[in-house]
Amino acid sequence: MSNARIAKSCKPDFLQIDNEIKNIAKKKEVVIMPSSEAWESLEWTKQYFKSKPKGGYFIWVKEQVDFPLSTCINIASGNIEQDLQNLMIVEKGIKAKANVLCASLKNNLSGTHKARGRLILKEGSSLQYNHVHKWGEKDNVMPDYEFILEKGSSLVYNYTNFFPPKNLEIKNKIICLDNSYSQLNFSVNGINSKIDINEEVVLEGKDSQNVSRLRLVGRKNSIINAYSSIIAKNKSKGHIECNSLMVDKESKIVSIPKLDCESRDAQLTHEASIGKVSEEQLNYLRSRGLTEKEAIDLVITGFLKI
């Protein structure tokens, strides 16, 4: 599906195109407003913003919702610079799901998308955050997200980027307090891209847990640097799994899983692999009539599925 068709088909609760907010849904259970408005009208939100926001959303899930929340932030014009601050707060005991799309509507817009996000999961809450990126080949994209998981909360963060920009710098920090659980599933398909991923999970609280899974593909001269670390400060469990696939000879992948243990009672593990597409798999699929390119695409699709 093309980027433009995705935007048309998407009816999000929050829609921003370039630097203009086009739609904000009214929901009984959820407060949705521009971040700039939250800064002005809700004094307490200022502690979560770095400075007065220029763009982005504020979503406050106050009551239980039985529908997925959705946001859509697009670049539609050439040479646009977005500087967003997104804040999402899920109140105590609430279970929520958010589908979040950030995309360029055309392939050659040379846009810049800077997004600083903070997501606060209050005690006993849970959030499934499905974050999809779909960019043009000349865009520069810099998301910097921090998740704070309060006592007993849980987060499943699925990030997929099958259409990467020219430059992608992702920073994620997850702070897990007592008995909280986070699961990160990252799938990035590098196509002629420079990609830097910096992911840090801090197991701050007792009996907190994290599982991070990264699937990276390097195609067409891509350079990918992926740093994934877990810092255990208390009795906790953490696991990192970084698997990468090199499709061409010109790409380069650096994958560094790091375990930093400050507690004797913590249990941290990691596994990492970088390999090429299996010739046996390709020949097998080609014997079913698929071209070499179709076979590679299919193997990659399967690899990126977590």
Binding site: R286, R288, E294, L298, L304
Partner: protein, 232 residues
């Protein structure tokens, strides 16, 4: 009509000759069986017909419908009508059989197994399930020449017999030619080959229309007697 003609085929892998002046001819709607001891070149022949690397053709020709296919890519051979059911198909994680069939733009023919179709391709499948998956794929291609590489291994008697009946029905209905590579003779009772071939040291050493007699001979004397067979 001659569908497949292999003439004086000599194949080398890493400096070692695997097929050594092999001749084989399969006509339209003809069923051939290929028997031979371990490492005699049976599976190599199947992969060479399909065009798999790294086999290096030193000599000879492979003609399909009268045209040399030696330089054809794997996918081109598949599109021309050659299909191979693998003895040990590789697992492809994250892709279901259904997705592959969609990508092939083919619908399964005759065999539909709802359980397998939505599972990852050859991942954690039993031996029997892998065979069913292979048959669903190759029959979906509606090939002119179907190569079955040890399709009867790893199955219990009941499943084997059910599968053989089904293969027989689909092959007849679609007027396929078949090359059956087998260790066991049981499949031949259902598919009733027109010609039985015995391969030894990369060469067809015996060819006969009397499969029963050949099987009995192999059972009684092993492949030693086939080596000296004068039927060719």
């Amino acid at each position: 009509m001659k569908l497949l003609q292999i003439k004086n085929l000599t194949i080398e892998v890493e400096g070692k000759k695997i097929l050594n002046g092999l001749d084989l001819e399969i006509k339209s709607e003809e069923i051939h069986a290929l028997l031979g001891p371990n490492a005699s070149g049976k599976s190599t022949l199947a992969k060479v017909i399909m065009g798999f690397p790294p086999y290096k053709v030193l000599d000879g020709n492979i003609l399909f419908k009268g045209k040399d296919i030696k330089k054809d890519k794997i996918e081109d051979r598949a599109k021309k009508g050659i299909a191979l059911a693998f003895q040990n198909p590789p697992a492809v994680s994250g892709i279901t059989l259904s997705q592959l069939l969609n990508k092939m733009s083919k619908k399964e023919e005759g065999i539909i197994n709802e359980d397998i179709i939505n599972r990852d391709l050859n991942v954690n499948l039993s031996g029997g399930e892998k065979k069913i998956s292979e048959l669903m794929q190759v029959f979906a291609l509606k090939p002119k020449l179907l190569i079955l590489d040890e399709i009867d291994s790893g199955l219990d008697i009941k499943k084997r017999q059910e599968m053989f009946k089904l293969i027989s029905e689909i092959v007849k209905k679609n007027k396929m030619s078949v090359l059956i590579i087998t260790h066991q003779g049981e499949i031949l009772e259902y598919l009733k080959p027109d010609v039985i071939n015995v391969i030894i040291d990369g060469k067809i050493m015996c060819q006969s229309n009397d499969s029963k007699k050949v099987l009995e001979t192999i059972k009684k004397y092993g492949y030693v007697k086939c080596k000296n067979c004068k039927k060719l």
